[in-house]
Assembly symmetry: C2
Amino acid sequence: MTSPHQLTAIEAGRQIDAGTLTSEALARDCLERIAEREPSIDAWHHLAVDAALARARELDRGPRRGPLHGIPFGAKDIIDTFDMPTEYGSPIYKGNQTANDAACVALMREAGGNLFGKTVTTEFANMFPGKTKNPHDPQRTPGGSSSGSAAAVGAQMVPLALGTQTTASTIRPAAFCGVVGYRPSWGDLRLSGVREAAGSLDTLGLMARSIEDISLLRDVLLGRTWEPLEGEPRVPRIGFCRTALWPQIEPAAAVLLEDAARHLAAAGAVVEDVDLPPGFGQILDAHRWVSSFEFSRNFRHEVVNHWELISQTLRDGRLKDGLGCTWERYAEARSFLDTCRGQLDGVFADYDLLLTSPCDGEAPIGIQTTGNPYFSAIWTALHVPCLTVPAFTGPNGMPIGAQLIGRPRHDRQLLDAARWVWRSIG
Amino acid sequence: MTSPHQLTAIEAGRQIDAGTLTSEALARDCLERIAEREPSIDAWHHLAVDAALARARELDRGPRRGPLHGIPFGAKDIIDTFDMPTEYGSPIYKGNQTANDAACVALMREAGGNLFGKTVTTEFANMFPGKTKNPHDPQRTPGGSSSGSAAAVGAQMVPLALGTQTTASTIRPAAFCGVVGYRPSWGDLRLSGVREAAGSLDTLGLMARSIEDISLLRDVLLGRTWEPLEGEPRVPRIGFCRTALWPQIEPAAAVLLEDAARHLAAAGAVVEDVDLPPGFGQILDAHRWVSSFEFSRNFRHEVVNHWELISQTLRDGRLKDGLGCTWERYAEARSFLDTCRGQLDGVFADYDLLLTSPCDGEAPIGIQTTGNPYFSAIWTALHVPCLTVPAFTGPNGMPIGAQLIGRPRHDRQLLDAARWVWRSIG
């Protein structure tokens, strides 16, 4: 029998609507799951057990608030909350309390969501890792920077969690933890109340265990009426895009994705190899300068006043790059990325979506680093919608994802087509 | 003799460097000016007199910090500060204290700036006005939403102040208060720690009493080495752009701007009438839906939890528009604005800058509203750099500005050419 904590948000919502499950029973079962799994995973930076139960009982007493009525969720600890501390993964902000909820949290709560707590982030959503372990193997990294959100959803502690992505911070941990991760088209979902890393690249990141749940959460975060993904998705035209990073991928992961491409063709999709335009080879370099320049200006208060509380990793990485990057170099890199974005119509002329790898393979052993970010960073820089689905299992029993890329601002079409892809691979 | 409070930032900085003025003497003179003028103007929401003097003495004891060493400034009260409250012009946030400085404040302080306090903003940088009066006539509005910043600079209380602009919130108050106001190209200056109104339109706004000061402050906010605007500016090719709003302008203001265009031609510039492409007529409508949709999502926490503390003006205006705006309508308006932005190369093919009006004339009587925003909103929506200079005096003795518009991301070229324009008009 399926326990409530194993349900997707939509499945749990249906049972709550039908009266066969209460918000409180769901919350209790998820909290039990957390009590069981948290000691070996450490997904939560702050867990508000009593508040979660009180909220569940309050929801059970009242009318249906919206499509997330009674659904537990977590929020990455760079996202402000009026009733819980927000510490940004940094000792500088020990005990920091903001006055209001970030827009995304407020929208989820308005729809009936039950915020369980704040999930572990790397320091300022950059590279220095937190305490979280991979739910499929505590020896391995969960990925970052949205480490706790991916681990909490992957461990079936909560069906939904919020992260962010400036480089690879949603797609990578989602793939490593075996969950569905979604980075929306840049600019679609509001970031008010989310600590900015590099605004021209930042987006929210959504974690769930089904594509339908991602679509539901996206509708909530857009502040629109939920329109479920329903019916038979159209068979998409698929570009199989290895990218210039292909030599970095683990052989087993490469074979799995190439097999999947063949399966999709056999299932009836047009699947063709597609190369990105030659100039796109400079995207990672441009991403580095744009993200570092903006980050180092955004964190000037911390640089000037709290240098000794910033990790060596951050000082010698993003901050060193950013503080050494001239305005001219930044402006050139930014213009280069604009030019690349302008070439996407050509890339997508014959395809509805691209199939590619979210990472270089299984989550690596060790929690001192968060893994290879480049397979995700390319797409982040291009502002396109990205989705990873836990399609495969690797040679060490770890989840491996398949990443699907959509046309800019065609997020719903991507999610719809991705249903067909996942089903056909699986 | 010129008092220190009358100096521009660059002039004061030169005297401090030369040892003929101390940071403390400058701060004391500005504070005396504030004590004299503030009772009739109410530019400040929070003024930190003791902290300003302490900071000035600290700066006098140490080495030169940067190009703003000892320079007093104000920051609009939607900009976070670690040592002063930030109340966003709303009773909801009475006494609110954030943990850190916004990026812009941290950058100015790092460069030696002396933050005197927080200037009055309209409620959440929207339309409901604060207490501030126009420094040139207390019966009249200072404009909004950066009301206090414009009034403080216009009344010679401080040489520099920070505002923001989502519609007309810097250019309009700057023009009404007789100061130089600058809205940078969208995306250039970091907004971390500034309360978001509508992220796809928001920028910082800079207030000063010279174009050279604006350029200095821009360099500081970019986190780059100051390169003063020097030498003889090139004579620009000028498009005189009345826009479709021309019938709304006061006759006296229209005559002043048309005379100025003739003066500029007589001084040697190419000056030609230019019309915006016909489709641009829908820009104000698109701006309305984009800004309202984003605003209403960003302020979901306040809408859900503090509805009774939100002004009727905001409830029945921006929030009603935004809560009633569908995602589809928003997405269409956003795409329309993208299309217009793509046509700017054509508009600027033959011109270095456009000359237009920042407002419909002098600041109107009454402080219940902040004046006509449309003359500025068009350019806000286009993401172009905008500068207003206090070029004229109207029939009621009030300042009237001339607005200059540059190519996107050609801000320095705009500021450079604007020196020639202002000198030639004046």
